[in-house]
Symmetry: C2
Subunit: 145 residues, 2 copies
Amino acid sequence: MPTKTKEPTYEIGEFATLVGLSAPTIRYYENQGLLKAQRTANGRRYFTEQDIKWVKFLLHLKGTGMSINDLKKYVTWRAQGDATIPNRLDLLKDTKADFMTKYRQVQHHLQILDDKIAWYEAKESGQDTGKEPFADYLKRIGHTV
Amino acid sequence: MPTKTKEPTYEIGEFATLVGLSAPTIRYYENQGLLKAQRTANGRRYFTEQDIKWVKFLLHLKGTGMSINDLKKYVTWRAQGDATIPNRLDLLKDTKADFMTKYRQVQHHLQILDDKIAWYEAKESGQDTGKEPFADYLKRIGHTV
DNA sequence: GTTTGACTTAAAGTTAACTTTAAGTTGTAT
DNA sequence: ATACAACTTAAAGTTAACTTTAAGTCAAAC
């Protein structure tokens, strides 16, 4: 039977590297209330595996478009217990709705970018459309600007 | 045979509305060199259908992640004629590469958001996993945080 | 003909999300 | 024991992309 080894802890620099942020950003997040570090007797922060998971989760939420302010709300509700699950769910669903709206827009933007790249490539290789403007080209291949 | 009617023109306010920006933003873009307005005898800007197409195209590029600075480069090269097509193509391809990187990341973020929403919904409707932490839940359904 | 709303400019202000600075303390390696 | 890197704090600075302000001109409606 293996002895239960103590969980590793990390000082702020290593922790920051592990989650892909800078140490100042970690401090900033803590000041904002998004996370809470434990402290050694001498006042130095230290972090655990749990903290890594937590920050990574926050970064996923942030990556879907949640602002620091939204994240603060979420964290506050989370600290208040299960009674606030509906609030959190609403926030996440709103976040998703906003995300999907932007996601669809961005797909359209990408389509236009791809078309423009194709147009330049055709032009560059001499298989071009002569002096046909890009807007006409788009209409011809079935896209609207 | 219908007579060729003059193309409509727009003052800055209407133009801004048509392209979904504010009048100050249009002025800002002009100051940045992204577009060029014609002027009446009294110094007022006016815009044509061509200008609408141009701004909409710029906004598509912007929507794929190009900064105002990138757009400036593009516009400058464009003004220099066909000799700069390779430069423009490189810029657009770099833009696309950056875009795709972020796009894939964002899809992962969305996955986690969806998982969390599902987790809360299960918890709310009593079909929950008891006290199973979210990270464990993710592992169980086959995702990694 | 006068009010009202839209336009003009240059310059200063705003916002989010950090980043940098300054001044000081602490842990570790030699 | 001393150097040196990593930590501590609070506060100021940065960046992009606008937005707002102030002071003035102009066109259309009543």
